[in-house]
């Protein structure tokens, strides 16, 4: 349904999206997980036709977004990160307008609009102006406007940013409903929990590059069930490196270093809690002082840390 092939977008010298490739099928949710500035919106904008890719291709339902743009757009529903509504037009008129923009007419338009109003829970407020709506209600309407023409492929760009928990839960329901109805959903987020909960498979991107790809379980497996141990404090660089090297050589520990800096050392290892006393001893013998210890069990967030040496929510 959605195919992205070596997609690249430059802004001058900045490579915002760097040779990204992935594929997503019917009835699935594909996640694009990455911190702010990773290039998620840029990728979405290239697929939606708002931006022209510098190189590479994207196709929607078999239509190339550049050479066959009109057909590609007809099959695409976009829910942009920023609200895109006529705040001075009643909710129902917003839906009708965008329905017509995609060629819906007459009875088909009427039935789709009332279906969508029901889905987004705004039946009672259909005649009201969005400028009187709460943030969550506007988000829901924003979603509704993107799917009113029942597109086979839906792009959702960080739909939950700044949304109250109730609206967020409702949004998840809407995404799942669209997926169950057979849509292919591309969902970008920088919230690991959202990606884990919603996505069948996902790609992790950072600095425009795709750094990992697979189903949630495949990606978890990459961590080989290791914990991530982060030590904050002061650690003399050379002495600490030698001390850590002795730890790596020990057979009873499958330890790896993610980052080693003067104020922070991040390691990954199995059953970290059992080995904490040993590790503390070695580090302090080398002159290191630990002021804070953070121990995390394996999840996508630690995977991101493992792959990039960075926190997801920077």
């Amino acid at each position: 349904m959605l195919k992205v092939d070596e997609l690249t977008k430059n802004y001058g010298d900045l490579v915002a999206v760097d040779q990204i490739s992935f594929e997503a099928g019917k009835g699935t949710v594909f996640g694009l997980l990455g911190p702010n500035g990773a290039g998620k919106s840029t990728a979405i904008n290239c697929i939606s036709g708002l931006l022209r890719p510098t190189s590479g291709h994207a196709s929607v339902a078999g239509h190339d977004v550049v050479s066959d743009g009109k057909a590609a757009r007809q099959n695409l529903g976009v829910v942009p990160q920023e609200l895109a509504l006529y705040e001075d037009l009643p909710a129902i008129e917003n839906l009708r307008y965008w329905g017509k923009a995609y060629g819906l007419r007459g009875a088909e338009l009427d039935s789709r609009v009332s279906e969508v109003l029901d889905t987004i829970g705004l039946v009672d407020r259909a005649k009201d102006l969005p400028k009187e709506f709460s943030g969550g209600m506007k988000r829901r309407l924003n979603f509704g406007c993107g799917i009113v023409h029942k597109p086979p492929v839906i792009l959702l760009d960080e739909p939950t940013v700044g949304v109250d928990p109730q609206s967020r839960a409702r949004l998840f329901d809407m995404v799942e409903a669209a997926r169950d109805a057979g849509a292919c959903v591309l969902y970008t987020t920088h919230y690991m929990e959202e990606a884990e909960r919603l996505c069948d498979s996902l790609a992790i991107i950072d600095n425009g590059k795709l750094i990992a790809k697979g189903t949630v379980n495949e990606l978890r497996a990459k961590l080989s069930a290791r914990d991530v141990l982060q030590l904050n404090g002061t650690f003399p660089l050379d002495e600490t490196r030698q001390a850590v090297d002795t730890l790596i050589e020990r057979d009873d520990l499958d330890l790896e270093v993610i980052t080693q800096e003067e104020e922070c050392v991040t390691l990954t290892l199995s059953r970290a809690s059992q080995h904490l006393p040993d590790i503390f001893a070695v580090i302090s013998n080398a002159g290191g002082v630990v002021t804070e210890t953070i121990l995390r069990s394996p999840n996508l967030e630690t995977l991101f840390l493992l792959l990039t040496g960075k926190e997801l929510r920077e």
């Binding site: 904008n45 939606s48 036709g49 708002l50 931006l51 743009g69 009109k70 057909a71 757009r73 007809q74 695409l76 976009v78 942009p80 920023e82 609200l83 895109a84 509504l85 006529y86 705040e87 001075d88 037009l89 008129e93 307008y97 965008w98 017509k100 923009a101 995609y102 060629g103 007419r105 406007c145 993107g146």
Partner: protein, 407 residues
């Protein structure tokens, strides 16, 4: 095209809620127009012209008539110079004077004997206002003379003998004094004995007064404010993200732009139409000219709207865009005859003014309102304005396609 209508209805429905804004676009020109009309009836800055008088009669009465033009308020508008018929005709044709009044020999005697007599007034075809004023004054003077004759025939004979030796100013003072008295009794009308034969520009079915010449400029002021204001709606839609949504949807950018232009045409037609109605009522312009004037105003408004929009869409942020287009607005209004009618501006300034887009529109609208007949604007002018609208809208559509919609 279907989507153009959808977009048209969408924009009208959105704009309908912003009545305040629309009221302001209407109120500013209305206030300015009201002020100008007030100034016109008081002592505003007024044009000045030269009336040549070829007095072949040299009687007391002919001196009285000549003096009437230099009395009071009229004297500030017109200076009177004596001349001969030949020299005067030459000077009027050369555009050096606003008019030439020929008082034939025997006029005084004919008047006193109540015999019909004809005065000839040649006016300068290149000027619009001053000849009109001179015609008005001549008619008043002659009416006054007629009533004076009816009422004070005896006294006039006496005065004639008394003032034979005095200077023009004294005669003029008496003439005005008589005229003032006459106005009180004017309601009892008798057919005038003296006719004025006007030689010059064709008679118009509208009395062209100075205030009427301001009307097209005032209407254009309303149109300029509203078209410039409406043009910023592309920026409003960009900020609301709806333009991006439009670009996501399958290729209807042209229809979208046309829909907005149609909605702008309706708003401009309403604002321009209201201003026209007020102006037509106030100045008594023939309603036969209303449809053509309204269509001209609305079409020109769309052309201005499209170019304001195109211009605003070339800038990278809305503040710059609106500052630049507002900065352009006032010089254009100034040059294009909204503050001073093109007809009273010196020739070369008026010529430049007519080249400004709104000056062009004002010039044609002035002809439509002041000349004989309706639908007199030439086909070329209609085509120019239609082409301007089409090209402006194409630029808007091109800007939408070439990245304007991106945040």
């Amino acid at each position: 095209m279907n989507f153009a209508l959808t977009s048209f209805r969408k924009d009208l429905s959105r704009w309908r809620q912003d009545l305040m804004q629309t009221a302001i676009w209407f109120a500013i020109p209305l206030t300015v127009g009201g002020l100008i009309t007030m100034l016109m009836s008081g002592d505003g800055a007024q044009p000045h012209g030269v009336l040549l008088i070829a007095d072949q009669d040299e009687s007391f009465l002919s001196v009285l008539i000549a003096g009437a033009y230099s009395a009071g308020d009229i004297g500030e508008l017109i200076s009177v110079e004596k001349t001969t018929v030949e020299e005067g005709t030459e000077r009027v044709n050369a555009g050096e004077a606003s008019g030439l009044l020929i008082i034939p020999a025997g006029f005084g005697d004919a008047f006193l004997d109540a015999e019909p007599v004809t005065l000839t007034l040649k006016t300068n075809p290149a000027q619009t206002i001053l000849p009109g004023i001179i015609t008005d004054v001549t008619e008043i003077v002659l009416d006054a003379g007629f009533y004076a004759h009816q009422l004070f025939g005896e006294e006039i004979n006496t005065i004639q003998s008394l003032v034979d030796e005095s200077n023009d100013a004294a005669v003029a003072a008496i003439a005005v004094a008589i005229q003032n008295k006459i106005e009180v009794v004017a309601p009892q009308l008798f057919p005038p004995v003296i006719n004025v034969e006007i030689v010059g520009p064709p008679a118009t079915d509208v009395q062209v007064s100075l205030a009427l010449l301001y009307l097209p400029g005032i209407i254009m002021m309303a149109v300029m404010f509203s078209s410039n204001g409406l043009a910023s709606d592309f920026w409003v839609e960009r900020d609301h993200g709806t333009l991006r949504r439009l670009v996501y949807s399958p290729g209807q950018l042209g229809s979208f732009v046309i829909g907005k232009a149609l909605a702008a045409a309706v708003v401009i037609a309403i604002i321009g139409g209201l201003t026209l109605v007020l102006g037509f009522l106030y100045h008594g312009v023939s309603w036969a000219k209303f449809p053509s004037s309204l269509v001209w105003v609305a079409l020109s408004g769309v052309a201005l709207f499209s170019w304001f929009a195109a211009l605003q869409m070339l800038f990278s942020n809305q503040n710059t865009a609106s500052v630049i287009s507002s900065m352009l607005l006032f010089p254009l209004l100034m040059a294009g005859g909204s503050f001073f009618p093109l007809a009273v501006l010196p020739g070369w300034i008026a010529a430049i003014g007519r080249l400004s887009p709104n000056g062009f529109v004002v010039d044609k609208l002035t002809s439509e309102i002041t000349e004989v007949g309706a639908w007199i604007i030439d086909v070329n002018s209609w085509l120019i304005v239609a082409a301007a609208a089409a090209s402006g809208l194409s630029i808007c559509a091109w800007r939408l396609r070439s990245g304007f919609a991106q945040a």
